[in-house]
């Protein structure tokens, strides 16, 4: 008790702010060695800091002070506990703007303290409301230029923070927080937020200190703005996330230990706001080496997906590849690398790049596809070069009649086959550009080949080629029309290519379903088929009806008349 009051009275007599400084350094106590050692490593932290700071550093380095303050803290805790236990719940839930501490000692200093705190807290409610335009808030979340005063001040603050935060991680040294489960300041920002992990009692109560806009209380003692930042942005991870969600500018530089960083990330993930999660990840990307960050992202699925998305969006392919590699996501890695070929415009370079892709860890089936892609482009380059030459010199008739509209480079396989059926149909299998060669090399199914060849030859109106596509000869030498796709589909394709009725007729006749046959025949105006079908089904009525569609002088009219006059037919109607 004594040490505490002595230490404090010295400060409070002079300023309010220094009190806050030392109050905030109370939470350092659980792990003074950490704070001290970091302070030693960064001597520059203390030097530019204004008046109050050296004092606090000084007392920090003084072991006797530690002891005293520790004692004071314990005493304080005990007092509070005994007093507040009974109606604790009600009290902490109802009194909105009261501190977690109650300092009702007779001691002069305490009374003064109590008053000042009360005052400060009552204004902090006001201050918090209009803190949108409060200069104090406007600290770049991404940090000031390194080496500036505000930067170093923040460095100082971050030295102070980690030890406090580490309570939440349950470091062995901390004994205070578990014994004070209810010790949350109701006013603390974290209580506004439905937090899963409540911040330790001492911590948040003094957070309301640090939130205190002290200048309202003692404006004449206002310190340079930059200095407020460190006290005021001295938020817990939870509060930091909340502030960020409200669109306020916060500083993340304080979160230096890995535990703090990960706590911050986890809080961000709990907040379900991708914007914030990404912001934290950007900070982590800057302040952690890749290996550590990647390692920590394993098992943090949401954060990981945000990170991957961010890397994709910002075009950091190298980092992304490293990440996939570190995670053992080899297929993702391979696909990402493969995708790079799309950015290469020169076909030879693209082919060479695809060749390097062949060794990538694709799944077995994908690896075959990539192999095909490479082979295809290789062939296309050869075909393109050759055909350009042929077209230019005008050696080939088909190129003259149907000049190429575009190059065949980078076209899909089926398009290439179509092209080859169009321009190189009769070539022997030995040439790269022959349809047979393409079909064999890429192991195309009969149906794929058939449909493509049909479309190409029909486009050229090479009806004999079309016909021979269907013709199979059995061992006795009989020919038969066969198709791997329904004849209806064949008709569709032929019709689209303006096949003449004579050609269509052949395939309409091959339809087995009578109704479909009649429909198709009507659609394509295959009169002979219709007449013959009605004759075969002995449907006089339909035939008579159909006859009316023609002129008396037309051949169809005559043909129908002939059929109708045929006495051999026994009409069904």
């Amino acid at each position: 008790m004594k040490g505490y009051s002595n230490g404090e009275s010295m400060l409070t007599k002079k300023l309010v702010i220094p009190f806050i400084v030392s109050a905030s350094f109370i939470y350092l106590i659980p792990s003074p060695p950490l704070a001290c050692s970091t302070a030693r490593h960064r001597p520059h932290c203390a030097s530019p800091a204004p008046t109050a700071a050296p004092r606090s550093w000084g007392s920090l380095n003084d072991p006797s002070d530690h002891l005293n303050i520790k004692n004071a803290l314990r005493d304080l805790k005990l007092q509070k506990m005994s007093r507040a236990k009974a109606d604790e719940d009600d009290y902490w839930n109802s009194s909105k703007f009261t501190l977690a501490f109650t300092f009702d000692e007779e001691d002069d200093d305490y009374t003064r303290l109590k008053e000042s705190k009360k005052a400060v807290n009552s204004i902090s409610a006001l201050a918090d409301e209009d803190d949108d335009d409060d200069d104090v808030e406007k600290v770049s979340w991404s940090g000031e230029p390194v080496g500036s005063i505000s930067w170093s001040v923040k460095e100082t603050a971050s030295k102070l923070r980690p030890a406090g935060d580490s309570r939440e991680l349950g470091f062995p040294k901390i004994s205070a927080s578990p014994s004070l489960p209810k010790n949350n300041s109701v006013y603390s920002l974290s209580s506004l937020f439905k937090a899963k992990t409540k911040v330790g009692g001492m911590l948040s109560s003094s957070d309301s200190f640090s939130d205190t806009p002290a200048r309202h209380y003692a404006p004449e003692l206002r310190k340079p703005k930059c200095e407020y930042k460190d006290y005021i942005s001295n938020w817990s991870p939870q509060e930091t996330i909340l502030k960020m969600q409200q669109g306020k500018v916060v500083s993340l530089e304080r979160f230096q230990s890995l535990q703090d960083k990960m706590l911050l990330l986890d809080k961000a993930v709990d907040g379900h706001d991708g914007n914030i999660i990404t912001a934290i990840l950007i900070y982590l990307k800057r302040s952690l080496c890749k290996e550590v960050l990647f390692r920590e992202l394993v098992g943090r699925e949401t954060a990981l997906r945000h990170y991957i998305h961010y890397l994709k969006e910002s075009g950091e392919q190298k980092v992304l590849l490293d990440l996939f590699r570190a995670l053992g996501r080899t297929e993702d890695e391979a696909l990402l690398q493969y995708k790079h070929h799309l950015t290469i415009t020169d076909e030879n370079k693209r082919r060479d790049f695809l060749k390097t892709c062949l060794g990538l860890p694709f799944s077995p089936e994908d690896s075959l596809h990539v192999q095909d892609h490479y082979t295809l482009l290789e062939r296309q380059i050869i075909i393109e070069e050759n055909d350009k030459q042929v077209e230019r010199t005008g050696q080939s008739d088909v190129f003259k009649r149907f000049p190429r509209k575009a190059s065949i480079l980078n076209m899909p396989l089926i398009t290439t086959l179509y092209y080859s059926c169009f321009y190189h149909y009769s070539e022997p299998e030995g040439t790269y550009s022959s349809p047979a060669n393409i079909r064999r090399t890429f192991k195309l199914a009969e149906k794929q080949y058939f449909l493509t060849a049909l479309a190409a030859r029909a486009k050229l109106k090479a009806w004999t080629d079309v016909d021979s596509l269907f013709t199979t000869r059995n061992w006795l030498g009989f020919t038969k029309k066969k198709s791997p796709v329904a004849f209806q589909r064949v008709l569709d394709i032929l019709h689209k290519n303006n096949a003449p009725v004579q050609v269509l007729e052949v395939y309409v006749n091959l339809l087995e379903d009578l109704e479909l046959k009649i429909n198709m025949a009507h659609k394509f105006k295959c009169h002979d088929v219709i007449i013959n079908t009605y004759r075969d089904t002995k449907d006089k009525k339909q035939l008579l009806g159909y006859q009316k569609k023609f002129d008396m002088s037309s051949a169809e009219h005559k043909k129908i008349a002939d059929v109708l006059n045929n006495s051999q037919i026994r009409w069904k109607n």
Partner: protein, 609 residues
């Protein structure tokens, strides 16, 4: 007139529970049906957005050039016009094209979505100016919000501080009386494919905005993880700000994640509005009809909403009914015109002053929609479309699967529409709980052969999303059922959809959002707890903040806000309108964007650099 009368009958009966009486008590559904309540006035949202934009423009006083993100142009058009911008000293307007700029103005304003690419481009612009020694003032307005990642780009590119940034909270664009859109098509890919939650808070903001303008809501229901997060985000925002107590205009709120049902949006749309969207692409409530529709040499941009009286009558109808309706309408119009024969001078004068304008307007609209129908008929009565519909139908019913596969294969082999082929594959996978391994491999290979191996990453995306997958092999059915429990549930819901459809004698309403329908079927809105139990995990139901009572309440209770996270289709909207009409509810649809099968598939493509 009559709607009000009927409603009064009901409210006087004092039915405040918001439940329909048991069906058995209803002698004739038609005669006793309650009318849907009036909708809240959402034009307020437009005014708010416009005022805020003007305020932001005035923050950069003086003449300035404005660069607008391409996909913000249409939404902007709907709330402000060029003269509004000119009034606030916008000199020239440019589209963001990621190219060097030609502007000579010394003040540049950028109105963009928070995308890194746009911000990087702006950085290039600023740095180019710096290099050229040109001094300008720059202002970036992000809408609906800025992201830290964007500011990070500004910082990295060394122009943080050289530009000012602002946020334009243009969250909601009312597309029609009952449709409000966030106009965020990227929501779908960002959240459902990439697992990025950056729009979750935006969704929460939207709820907050609607809540503070038209709330308080009485109950909030949701299905899906994103819905839950959006709900929580909204609750947080409500807690941050004070809520003034007043009578709400909206009763219950339903939140749906798009991934709850992918089957419906993967189907061809058959209601008029949906079909227009599938074929001509409705953009921001506006469609461009080409010369083939207008039967003139130029194309025409037309707003499609309830203001268009003709459209309003056919938008929710099955396409096959539309033609008959339109021709009847044309006949009526003719009769109305013919009236003027045999009129005396005075009558003609009244006719001209009172009726002619309306008739002319109707005439214009009618010929437009007839033109559109004809054009669609031409495309859709083709044999192919019939076959396509048949295949979809078979897939939904689960029969003739081999035939369907053959059809899809040929579709791919013939290099028909790349998007359509992928859509059919997804539909096959969704309805069959994945493809057999050999089918998957063979179809994927054929697809890559027809449309390019570049699509490999697209297949990875579809797999990631779970809409085009291989059936896991070697697992027992029960284990698999567990794994794809969601889909199994969907099928059950699908059955209900069908049952509902036939009940309603509107077989074309198969496009109902299945889950929603399940909820509605169990309905009275009371059996809902049971439903939420039925659907495991991600579902929630929560009471809202206030309990209004009396007459106001019964109307409010029947105004239901349905929010789709990840987009919804016009078919789904039609289905909701239909249900609303049947049951006396009024649905307000809030969606992150209007979508359809093609847009969904396009969002998942990954064959571009």
């Amino acid at each position: 007139m009559s709607p009000h009368a009927t409603r009064r009958v009901f409210t006087s009966k004092g039915q405040t529970d918001g439940c329909s009486p048991p069906l058995s008590l209803i002698p004739m559904a038609q005669s006793i049906r309650r009318d849907s309540p009036e909708l809240p006035d959402f034009s307020l949202l437009k005014r708010l957005a416009r005022d805020q934009l003007i305020y932001l423009l005035e923050q950069l006083p003086g003449r300035k050039d404005l660069f607008i993100d391409a996909d913000l142009m249409s939404p902007l058009d709907r709330i402000a016009n060029v003269s509004t911008l000119k009034q606030h000293e916008v000199d020239k307007l440019y589209k963001v094209e990621y190219k060097p700029i030609v502007s000579t103005s010394d003040q540049l304003c950028f109105l963009i979505r928070p995308r890194l690419q746009s911000v990087k481009w702006i950085c290039d612009v600023v740095n180019a100016d710096k290099a050229a020694g040109k001094f300008r003032r720059y202002k970036l307005i992000f809408t609906p919000q800025k992201f830290y990642a964007c500011e990070n780009v500004l910082e990295e590119q060394g122009i943080f501080g050289d530009v000012t940034t602002d946020e334009w909270g243009f969250h909601l664009l009312p597309l029609d009386d009952d449709i409000i859109s966030l106009e965020l098509p990227e929501f779908f890919r960002d959240y459902f494919l990439d697992g990025n939650q950056r729009w979750v808070r935006t969704a929460g903001c939207v709820l907050h905005l609607l809540h503070s303008l038209y709330g308080p809501f009485s109950k909030v229901y949701g299905i899906g993880r994103c819905s839950k997060m959006a709900y929580e985000s909204w609750r947080e925002q409500v807690e941050e700000g004070e809520q003034k107590g007043r009578d709400g205009e909206i009763g219950s709120v339903f939140l749906f994640d798009r991934d709850v049902d992918y089957v419906t949006p993967m189907c061809s749309q058959v209601v008029y509005e949906g079909l227009v969207d599938d074929i001509f692409r409705i953009k921001c409530g506006c469609v461009e009809f080409g010369p083939e529709v207008t039967s003139s040499d130029k194309s025409l941009k037309v707003m499609l909403n309830s203001q268009d009286k003709v459209f309003n009558q056919i938008r929710n109808e099955h396409f096959s009914n539309v033609f008959g309706f339109l021709s009847q309408k044309a006949k009526n119009l003719q009769t109305a015109y013919d009236k003027r024969c045999g009129m005396d001078i005075k009558q003609i004068k009244t006719f001209v002053s009172e009726e002619l304008k309306g008739l002319k307007q109707e005439h214009r609209l009618l010929s437009l929609h007839i033109g559109a129908s004809e054009s669609m008929m031409k495309k859709k009565t083709k044999q192919e479309f019939q076959e396509l519909l048949k295949t979809e139908h078979s897939l939904l019913e689960g029969f003739d699967i081999r035939e369907c596969i053959t059809f899809i294969e040929e579709h791919i082999n013939r290099q028909c529409s790349m998007i359509e082929s992928l859509r059919l594959l997804c539909l096959l996978s969704l309805t069959e709980n994945g493809l057999l391994s050999k089918d998957y491999k063979s179809m994927k290979a054929q697809y890559l052969q027809s449309y390019g191996v570049d699509h490999l990453p697209t297949f990875a995306n579809l797999k990631q999303l779970g809409i085009l997958v291989e059936q896991p092999t070697g697992e027992t059915l029960t284990a698999m059922e567990n794994k794809v429990g969601k889909l199994v549930n969907d099928r059950a819901a699908g059955k209900l959809t069908d049952a509902f459809s036939s009940l309603a004698k509107k077989s074309h309403f198969r496009a109902l959002s299945r889950r929603l329908n399940l909820v509605l079927e169990r309905d009275g809105w009371t059996g809902l707890e049971e439903v939420t139990r039925l659907l495991n995990g991600q579902e929630f139901a929560a009471s809202g903040c206030s309990e209004a009572d009396g007459k106001a309440r019964s109307d409010t209770q029947r105004t239901i806000l349905v929010m789709f996270l990840g987009g919804c289709t016009f078919s789904e909207i039609s289905a909701l309108r239909f249900l609303g009409k049947e049951k006396g509810y009024k649905f307000i649809i809030v969606t992150t964007a209007i979508t359809n099968s093609a847009r969904l598939i396009e969002a998942l493509l990954d064959n571009r650099a």
